[in-house]
């Protein structure tokens, strides 16, 4: 379909204490926006029931043009190396209105 354009969707699942850092990184890497959902779950760092401030996860989505993907992944890898537990994956999506994702957040 001519009106759909390929972009990269980065998804990060981690504890909500990391939110400010992740948002800062997303801003710095020139993303045009981001979306956050509240989540719970389980993994190597145990159960995150989401009932208390101390065990709530977030799921963060960022759509970035392919050429900006690498910088963002660098930041995320650095956090993971420091010991933060995160689930990070990239998927291919086709967006309506690709120009939206070119301008970074003011």
């Amino acid at each position: 379909m001519h009106r759909l354009f390929p972009e990269k969707l980065v998804t990060i699942i981690t504890s909500d204490v990391l939110e400010d850092r992740l948002v800062a990184s997303v801003r710095n890497r020139g993303a045009s926006g981001y979306t956050i959902l509240r989540a719970r779950g389980a993994g190597s760092s145990g159960v995150q029931s989401g009932m208390l401030d101390i065990d709530t996860n977030i799921k963060l989505h960022v759509i970035v043009p392919p050429q900006r993907l690498s910088g963002l992944l660098d930041d995320l890898e650095r956090l993971m190396h420091k010991g933060y537990h995160m689930t990070v994956y990239v998927s291919d999506v086709s967006v309506l209105g690709p120009e939206k994702y070119e301008t970074s957040m003011y």
């Binding site: 504890s15 145990g46 159960v47 009932m51 208390l52 401030d53 101390i54 190396h81 420091k82 010991g83």
Partner: protein, 338 residues
Amino acid sequence: MGTLSNLLIPAVLFFALGFLARAVKSDLRVPQDLAKMLSIYLLMAIGLHGGYELGKAELTTAFNAVLWAVVLGFVLPMVGYILLLITRRVDRMNAAAIAAHYGSVSAGTFLTAIAYLDNIGIEYESYPVIMLAVMESPAIIVGLLLASWSRQRLAVTGGGNSAGVAVMQSGNGNGHLSSIVREAFTNGSVILLIGSMLIGAISSPGSMVKLFPFIDEIFMGILCLFLFEMGMEAARRIREFRKVGAVLVAFGLIMPLIGGAIGIAVGHYALGLSIGGTTLVAVLGASASYIAVPPAMRLAVPEANPSFYLTLSLGITFPFNVVIGIPLYHYFAALAAA
């Protein structure tokens, strides 16, 4: 020893009910934000109330209380850290993170102690409330310092896989300590509690009276609801005790006894409080944080496993204190006074 009467307070009974509900795998679905909302209410109410009382308090004793709160907040994590290293069941980073929790306090346990004292008609001073507010921050700072120091030691000895990276990070910014202190004092629950105390202290008495139905009268009911949920969370956590291991579980039972003993000494001898007040200081010493400290540790000590400190503070020490600890500390506080 009053254990029985303790168990017949609705607050404790609701804790037990929550625990039981989860233990029998009931499908009870509690909204995710209920506990968070209730804990905001509790911090606000306890702060306003404490601040209002403190407006009438002696300044010297209040100052002393703050001082001793800081001392407790600094000393207890160190005791805990050394104990944990002796067990040899956790590495230094985990020891630092766990220890920080025991230097801080659990408002839920403190409030249960107040309900307990109220129920058996024992008076208490308002100073422990300031101590409650003060004790969160030093413990966080000590925890982060211990972690930072452990990270350096690990880097030198080459132990720990991610430690090398971590120490580089923490080493190359000399604003590091200041940011630790900043984080400890802008901690959400610290701000809410201390802010509410200030508001309670400076508001006109007339305007405070209008708040009493909210912060006083419905307080006990909300505490019951909160403890009901915390009972469920404790039961969820206690299941993970096997991952934690018997030695750590023992730590989670012994450390509150040590903290309680130190608390009794501080309350009775250093501050000269009544039996009720001493009991409350003992509870401050004995209880472990599960609100302010865990997020701080998760952020600043990512190498530590949250399962460890959450299971210990929420699954072991919290129920122990609520059911057994409080009447025990009261008993010894009475003994010290006699």
